[in-house]
């Protein structure tokens, strides 16, 4: 597909709110899932759209069903007062200027339909309250703009009612799937998870091969035999990590780091072919059953391998799903009183947090003095840290609120001498999405991804120019893939992107103590 050349927007001298450019991103559409992809997920295929009346009725019925199941959706659709607090908060609005990328406008695409079919004034006086019928054009608009949201929740930080556009986007995508209007990228990936076990479609033997190769590489590199074990029954820790860690750059450097941490601390661990994916695109498409079905693989693997602890690798949305949803979906966690969850929870070792983030594990070991570092090994790097949206605003690490910000930074400071923060207002809970999260990490949306990265790139440029930063660490597979792809558009080298455990890997003392 030879489209117009994709260019990064210019850096703004001052980060002022961009001038509105109505229609700037109109009609942008990721590829539509074909019938086969849809069928693998038990969704109807695109041919349903040929019968409009049926599509219309199915969509409205699905919306009614979701309104009955999800308090958030109902409250959020009712509560917005159009105050405008969110209008300049979305990285896609900042990068594109398209007013429909303002969170409130994105919500209104659905709110207008909700008013028309589910509220009295919308039924009586649609014009007055901005209510409108669901038409094929409206559905197209949903498809376009609900795939220009990365579900990063930045708007929800600023909304006086906590309205989270991610919830609306998820509901929008769920309704679209119910009428056969699915997104190829996300749905194809979910199909692969069900069939093969991971997003990248790496079958078991290939995975085994990759890990063996990795062991050889690390041996050559360090002179120490570090294991990257797969499907080991009775291991203490099951590590569930995004499949990109198995071969993508720079992801694999963090995987190497996890292995070194386990090795140095003497913890027995394993990965699993069945659960060879931490990512859960069921969240992106807002479908509870898919979310649950994908998460259940981890439960099954944990039961089968008999592990005592479940640890999650560097992945933003995966950590949100693991931390916030796994206990609900699969019983991985604590404090259950039902047989389903107790079956697994009685197997787990509750002296440790379940599930645990790899950063929590590493930081605990650092605090106990169980692992140590040659910080100088990272002296060629001046490091900054990009908070990943799902970790920052949808989860936690450690014992107190905000641990998700402190722990990764503590690790970086423990393994490297030069650390620099990016501007306040672009980090911690107000962090900007990388521009590729939430199921938009696909080449057919590259234009959007490049533009959406603008605010993060501006903050990065500041510390690159000012403090000589040459490494941006992150703890998310999507952030890593997105940044390595888009930073060249902004004049940075892709090699400056990496993982926190890549830094750990560089500095950790191995040797047999």
């Amino acid at each position: 597909m030879a489209g117009p050349e994709i260019k990064a927007p210019a850096f703004r001298e001052y980060p002022t709110v961009p001038v509105m450019q109505p229609g700037a991103m109109e009609g942008l559409k990721p590829f539509i899932a074909n019938e086969k992809i849809q069928a693998d997920l038990n969704f109807p295929g695109p041919q349903l759209a040929e019968n409009w009346q049926q599509t219309h009725d199915t969509a409205i019925a699905k919306m009614g069903e979701l309104l009955g199941q999800q308090r958030a959706l109902k409250v959020y659709l009712d509560s917005c007062v159009h105050c405008g607090a969110c209008t300049d908060k979305c990285h896609y609005y900042i990068g594109t200027g398209d007013p429909k990328n303002m969170p409130v406008a994105r919500q209104d695409l659905m709110r207008s339909v909700y008013r028309r079919y589910f509220t009295l004034p919308g039924k009586l006086f649609p014009k007055l309250v901005g209510a409108r019928d669901l038409t094929p054009e409206v559905l197209d608009e949903w498809y376009s703009y609900y795939h220009q949201c990365s579900e990063c929740r930045r708007c929800s930080v600023f909304c006086p009612y906590g309205i989270d556009t991610a919830e609306i986007t998820m509901a929008g995508r769920d309704i679209l799937d119910a009428v056969g209007y699915g997104q190829k990228y996300s749905n194809e990936i979910i199909g692969k998870v069900h069939k093969i076990g991971n997003n990248l479609g790496l079958p078991g033997p290939a995975l085994e091969n990759t890990l063996e190769g990795l062991e050889e590489d690390v041996l050559e590199d360090t002179g120490i035999a570090i294991r990257y074990p797969l499907d080991v029954r009775g291991a203490e820790v099951l590590l569930v990590t995004p499949s990109a860690d198995f071969f993508a750059e720079p992801h694999i450097d963090s995987l190497i780091g996890y292995g070194k941490v386990f090795h140095a601390a003497g913890i027995s661990w394993t990965m699993s072919t069945m659960a060879s994916e931490a990512g859960n695109f069921g969240m992106f498409i807002g479908n509870y059953e898919q979310l649950r079905k994908i998460a259940l693989r981890v439960r099954e693997a944990a039961l089968e391998l008999g592990v005592k602890r479940i640890v999650v690798g560097e992945c933003g949305h995966a950590w949100r799903v693991a931390y916030s949803f796994w206990n609900t979906l699969t019983g991985i966690g604590d404090g259950a009183n039902d047989p389903f969850a107790i079956q697994l929870q009685s197997q787990l070792d509750h002296r440790y947090k379940q599930p645990m983030h790899i950063c929590e594990l590493t930081w605990d070991l650092i605090r106990q003095g169980a692992i140590s570092f040659d910080k100088e090994a990272n002296d060629h790097r001046i490091v900054t840290f990009h908070d990943s949206c799902n970790v920052a605003r949808g989860s936690r690490m450690g014992d107190s609120p905000g641990g998700q910000f402190e722990i990764p930074r503590n690790i970086i400071r423990a393994v490297a001498n030069h650390y620099v923060e990016m501007a306040p207002g672009t980090t911690h809970e107000q962090t900007f999405c990388c521009g590729g999260g939430g199921g938009v990490l696909t080449d057919d949306l590259l234009d959007l991804r490049v533009k959406g990265a603008l605010p993060r790139m501006e903050a990065l440029k500041q510390v690159v120019d000012g403090q000589g930063v040459n490494f941006m660490a992150t703890i998310c597979a999507i952030c890593k893939s997105q940044f390595t792809k888009v930073v060249p558009y902004y004049g940075f080298k892709m090699s400056m992107i990496g993982g926190v455990h890549q830094l750990v890997s560089t500095a950790i003392r191995l040797g047999d103590k």
Partner: protein, 240 residues
């Protein structure tokens, strides 16, 4: 006119109470299947109460978002609260001491409320982004509130209304004993607009008032690892 306004207020009060009551019941009954507090969030229920208090009393999130909207919005809401409390004197006999105490502040609040509304309305014209998202009903709602404030202030400062008679009317209304209402244009306007506001409350964006308390991103504690959270409809999936 006495009968008309009496009927209007009985009707508006019932619509308001039943409408909002039904909405609250609906929010209450609709499950929240997943824990989605916007983090960092409090880890305890007490912490959640504090967060909610800061949100409804200080508009904490709005403060982070935009100082102009925060200042105007907060000014309007606090003034409105004072004005409403001041109006309690029309419904209580003898008037409670603290209601008597706030009377003078309530008068300033009337002006402050109008000023806040004018500021908020101006933004809908002057700021491009807010102009883009404003619907006709957003403007009408501001017009309605400003009309209420203006007609109220008019009775105080331009053409004095016999408020003792107004009080007799409302005290009577509460006992289903209809008393005469002073024949007075600003008063009629004021009461009609207030009744209209009560009528549209359960069907409009004014639902943000009860809505904020039910917002999962604000009212959930951050404790998913410690405690299993399961909605009834989701639990059924486990039985399969």
């Amino acid at each position: 006119m006495n009968l008309f306004f009496a009927a209007l207020f009985y009707f508006a009060t019932s619509v308001l109470l039943i409408g909002v009551g039904r909405k609250i019941a609906d929010y209450w009954r609709t499950p929240a299947p997943l824990l989605i507090p916007t983090t960092p969030a409090p880890t305890t229920q007490a912490g959640v109460v504090l967060r909610m208090l800061r949100e409804v009393a200080l508009f904490e999130s709005l403060f982070k978002a935009n100082l102009w909207i925060w200042a105007l919005g907060w000014l309007f809401h606090v003034s409105l609260a004072l004005v409403l409390l001041r109006h309690l004197r029309f419904f209580t006999e003898p008037v409670w001491a603290w209601v008597g105490f706030i009377q003078p502040f309530g008068i300033y609040a009337g002006f402050a409320m109008a000023a806040g509304l004018v500021g908020l309305w101006a933004r809908r014209f002057l700021v491009e982004r807010i102009r883009y998202i404003s619907t006709f009903s957003d403007h009408l709602m501001l017009a309605l509130l400003l009309g209420i404030a203006a007609s109220g202030l008019m009775m105080k400062f331009l053409s004095h209304t016999d408020i003792v008679a107004v009080k007799t009317f409302f005290l009577g209304l509460m006992l289903f004993d209809i008393q005469p209402l002073p024949a007075d244009a600003p008063l009629y306007l004021h009461l009609a607009l207030v009744a209209l506001l009560m009528l549209v409350f359960p069907f409009s964006k004014l639902l943000h008032a009860p809505g904020v308390f039910f917002s999962p991103s604000r009212n959930q504690a951050d404790n998913p690892r410690e405690k299993r959270h399961l909605a009834a409809w989701a639990a059924k999936l486990e039985a399969k």
